[in-house]
């Protein structure tokens, strides 16, 4: 699965969790760019991403996410090594 494919699938999750059908995320998108992205929704989003890709993030990995790109990179490394 390519980075772009992962980003597309994450976008669908973001739209659902953040209740914003027109949301279009990029690799550089961070919590500052999305109004609905607060600490509550962040945790819900992480759980949804883990369920969708059938992976489990380490606590240190989640805490290191600075933007969507960081998350995509880690998902990519997990799904390709699985």
């Amino acid at each position: 699965m390519s980075h772009i494919e992962i980003l597309d699938q994450i976008n669908a999750i973001f739209r659902r969790v953040f209740e914003n059908d027109s949301l279009q995320i990029q690799m550089e998108t961070s919590a500052d760019d999305v109004d609905e992205w607060d600490s509550l929704n962040h945790t819900v989003m992480i759980v949804e991403v883990e369920k969708h890709f059938n992976i489990k993030f380490k606590l240190k990995e989640v805490l290191s996410f600075q933007n969507v790109g960081d998350m995509v990179n880690i998902i990519h490394s997990k799904v390709t090594s699985a």
Binding site: S39, L40, T43, I46, L59, K60, S64
Partner: protein, 448 residues
């Protein structure tokens, strides 16, 4: 840089060499623990050690007597003769703030968000930086530490900006906070002589006293730092315009709230993410329980922390429901209603924190609607001058909160023609000297 460190050391030495030596020892410990964590293959082990040592230091100075006096009481209730001795230690100035920054520094290195500082002079300057000694802000090393490497040059505009910040802070502290303090101290110091809605007024005034006292100190600390060429965390952002308790904690003591978010709430809520919404409720409760404990070693602060934890937990659980309710109102009505409810909670919460004992809290809340002694409600012995001046101060704070787009006053004054500007300065100094309480009262948050 050496002169700055010397200034900080002299500042701390005013409160005793014993405390200074302890802070220097903790500084040395954290300097080496940071390097050790960075070098270690398994960073968790040295990190755990560093966190335990820091927490232990705080425990000994702040919580030991409270904890073991409660343990002694429990044993005596059970008729067991064990008596832990009480310690007679003087708490080093600002140690609560110091330890939080030390823990944050070590964790950031473990998370690879911060490189360990190799220059002890820079490291000691950051930890002992005197403008943040008494009450913070709880500045992050990654934001403040690099500034010690920058070359500082004389800058007239920067210095006058700092001086104006100090003047504004002095005004809030001496004219508003300490005036309100007369009334608040009288009521809370003699609770059983009063009853009825005067407790609401005391809680209302205390809320503004605390804000003016703490934010006044912050402005002075920021002013001193600005003069020296440093920028620090802004700790307040119109807290009384908060639309929820969650929002309030994003606007009040921001450096502490964000510290708690980064190092307690976020890791705990993510660790417990499989609990769904209840994981977050659990995390927020633990976070505010710790916040309450950090504020003071007493049951009052533990309950106060729990009260806030419950309020934030409620907001998490009812977030969707409240959103759907507010959709039925206009945006402005929903906002104003939210601000009013949050403000009432803030007064209740601070009333709780200001009371001396849990019994006092019970007395206040059971007598607040006792209307049996209406003549005594305002017969407090506090002069009308203090009450009127304090009330005008409250009004000024509220106007600055309600004003949606407050212009940058500091900049506005700087841009005034020279004659107007200096007339304003003279007037401000006379006003502070004339109406300020120049008695050298301490800062409320320094006790934490």
């Amino acid at each position: 840089m050496f002169l700055l460190l010397l200034a900080s050391v002299i500042f701390y030495s005013f409160s005793g060499w014993q405390g200074l030596l302890i802070l220097v020892a903790i500084t040395g410990f954290n300097f080496y623990s940071g390097i050790l964590i960075d070098k270690a293959t398994n960073k968790n082990l040295p990190l755990t050690f560093a966190v335990v040592v820091n927490v232990l230091v705080l425990f000994i100075f702040k919580f030991y007597n409270f904890f073991f006096s409660e343990v002694n009481s429990l044993f005596s209730l059970l008729d067991i003769t064990v008596n832990f001795p009480m310690l007679n230690l003087i708490m080093p100035v600002g140690i609560s703030y110091f330890i939080l920054q030390a823990i944050g520094y070590n964790v950031d290195i473990q998370r690879e968000m911060q490189s360990p500082e190799k220059n002890f002079l820079v490291f000691a300057n950051y930890f002992l930086f005197f403008p943040k000694a008494l009450q913070g802000p709880v500045d992050r090393p990654r934001l403040l530490m690099p500034q010690f490497y920058e070359k500082k040059e004389f800058d007239y505009a920067r210095i006058t900006t700092g001086l104006r910040l100090i003047a504004w802070g002095l005004f809030k502290k001496l004219v508003i906070a300490d005036r309100l303090g007369f009334f608040v101290t009288e009521i809370y110091g003699n609770l059983h002589e009063y009853s009825g809605p005067i407790f609401l007024l005391a809680g209302f005034f205390y809320t503004f006293q605390l804000y003016a006292d703490f934010s006044g100190y912050m402005d002075m600390a920021l002013g001193v730092a600005t003069i020296l060429g440093f920028s620090m965390f802004r700790n307040f952002n119109k807290p009384f315009a908060a639309t929820s308790v969650t929002d309030f904690w994003k606007r009040w003591h921001i450096s502490l709230s964000t510290w708690l978010y980064e190092y307690v709430f976020n890791p705990v809520s993510l660790y417990k993410r499989n609990w769904g919404i209840w994981g977050m409720v659990f995390a927020v409760f633990i976070t505010f329980l710790l916040s309450g404990l950090w504020h003071g070693a007493s049951w009052i602060f533990i309950f106060w922390g729990m009260l806030n934890g419950i309020a934030l937990g409620y907001e998490i659980v009812t977030a969707k429901w409240r959103k759907s309710i507010f959709k039925k109102f206009s945006k402005a009505t929903a906002r104003n209603l939210s601000i009013a409810v949050t403000f009432i909670f803030t007064i209740l919460s601070f009333t709780f924190a200001r009371a001396n004992t849990p019994a006092d809290v019970v007395y206040i809340f059971t007598n607040v609607f006792n209307f049996s002694n209406p003549s005594g409600w305002l017969n407090t012995g506090v002069s009308n001058f203090d009450l009127i001046l304090g009330s005008l101060g409250v009004l000024l704070i509220l106007i600055l909160h309600w004003w949606q787009k407050v212009p940058d006053m500091n900049l506005a004054i700087a841009e005034l023609p020279v004659l107007w500007r200096w007339s304003f300065y003279c007037l401000a100094i006379v006003f502070i000297l004339q109406f300020g309480v120049i008695s050298g009262s301490g800062f409320i948050y320094a006790q934490f």
